[in-house]
Amino acid sequence: MTERTLDGESPRPTSEFWRSFAEMAVWLLICGIVYSQTGLFDREIPDYEFGATGWPRALCIAAAFGAVAQFCLQRIVARRAPENANAKSGAKSGGDWRTLAQRAAVFVFPLLWLYLAPRVGFYISAPFFVAGMLLLMEVRSPVNLFAVTAAIYALVLLFFTRLFFVALPVGRIEAFYDVNVAIIGLARIGL
């Protein structure tokens, strides 16, 4: 099953249909879940007829309607997705395992850091986060890695710890806590 694209050049794969369908299904699923969760606070309010659920439920219905309308219109238009048009020459193959791993790491690495930072403290973990992000941004020169990490870390310490006294997490594990406090002390020397 193929469809003709609007530019009339290439056959349109069935995947386009399933993509639009999946998009609608995700929206309907979100709307369904949100609507079902409104039951947990479905209590009467003496001065207000629609209660606490009226507004969010109306929004869920409107979003569900919008998702269905979008799907119907996409079927009518059946036009090519913008990403296809934006494909550029010189791009690395998206299927290359290294590229895929790097792309995944861009999203996973910050989440891993978020898990660790409150435990080991911001002051210890921040340089590793900066260096990790630089590596993900394909900065490979050790000199650049060290210099940029040191510059960003120093600026954060100078502005937020020394000048603005922002209380950033110092860690929940005792050994790390002590080191974090020592770094803060170092940053505030002379104050």
């Binding site: 949100v34 207000y48 209660g51 979008q70 913008p82 992000m133």
Partner: protein, 507 residues
Amino acid sequence: MDMFIQGTMNLFGDWNTLLIFAMGLLGGMIFGATPGVNMLTLGAVVLPFTITMLPEHAIMLFSVIYCAGVFGGAITAILFNIPGAPENAPTCFDGYPMTLRGESGKAIGAAVSCSAIGGLASAILMMSATGAIAGWAIRAFGPQEIFALIFFGLAVSASIGAATLWKGWLSVLAGLLIATIGTDPVGGIARFNEGSLLGLSFHSYYLSAGIHFIPIILGFFAVSEVFAQAVNIAMGTRERPKAGLEFPSAAEFWRVRWTMLRSVGIGFFAGILPGIGATLAAFLGYSQAQRWSRNRQNFGKGEIEGVVASETANNAATGAAMIPLLALGLPGGALTAMMLGIFQIHGMEPGPLIFINSGELVWITFAAMFWANLLIIFLGWLQTKTVVHLLRIPFRWLAPGILMLAIVGAYALRNLFIDVWVMFIAGIAGYLLRRTGYSAAGIVLGLILGKLGESAFTKSMQLMDYNFLGFFERPIAAVLIVLGVGAVILSIAGEFRRVEQQKASLD
């Protein structure tokens, strides 16, 4: 005029006052132009220090930070596609494509000049008729009109930044839904703070307080942009922006004179209404510029008129936002709410009597806003010539710094690490939504106006005894609703017309 001269003399005649003015101006411009932090961060940091200041110095400082911060936010929007504040979001749509074309200087130059023009016009209007305008706005604008205006604003602005009309609407609806998390505006019942699905359940005190818009904005704009660029680097498809120092020509300004004038009107009108503020002003200014422009097909691709429209409108709202604050004690946004806090710290009550009891405070503030906007032209020109060189620093070096600032900005808001989680989750969601043609700006618009819209709707329903036709008994509300519905119908018709045209070209 005498009062203005007196205010100016008080401002420039005392070294302390002048120093505070200069610090506010530079601080607002620097914080506004630094990705990850914004004028609210500066306001929150400075607020405790205002206890020891004279009240007129403290209010003047915040009003200057407000003017300079709104302008500064345009710079990051233009250079990095990361708006410094929600009101700068529409500036990204044309400012960043201009940067990619090597016209960053031109875009920033337009933003500088139009921010100053919008701000100056607003300051002059504010000085001329604060009392009368505030009185009119409050008499004419009840909950029905506020709701109708939000409906109208969303109706005309929803599709901005999205691939299609429906994606724009769905983005706004997503933002409105996120805004329902927290307590409901009438009964104070906690919503979505607990959940139960497939036998799993959770309860969160954090969600009882609602999701703050700052981590969401940082996530949708700053974090998702860094993610997008990092993925482009991994794929080898990153387009490198080019630094350009060219300033817009006088002819270019003359070409967009009507857009400027329209945006001043829109910005000022939106600014005087409590809570509506600069964000809706910028979106409305941009959408109306697109509607009336001869080059509407170039909007979103680097049209200078788009930058002019949004920057004029958001700065025109800054002066106007002071009107309900000073005359009625009603803050129009987060920074004006901080100013209300300063009044309370110093045991003062803003309202009509403030013009009689604290004339010096009022006029030093008005004069400071006027001169701040005038100085923005000069300092902004200098900034145009210097800040553009930031583009010469490789983005891969700047990105971790931007993330670090965003992390500190999100955390410092309430000293909660969960805000940083929210920011990164919003960043991932923003990245995915942008890839699929949804509008991060639309979600943020929905999120910011959601609570206000629901509150106005509930009050309207109570006042009108749940009769939806009651909106049509109030002329302003009726006109706005009809215009909003008309805009929706026209947009849908336009979408169908485009489909037909595409089909015809295929045949």
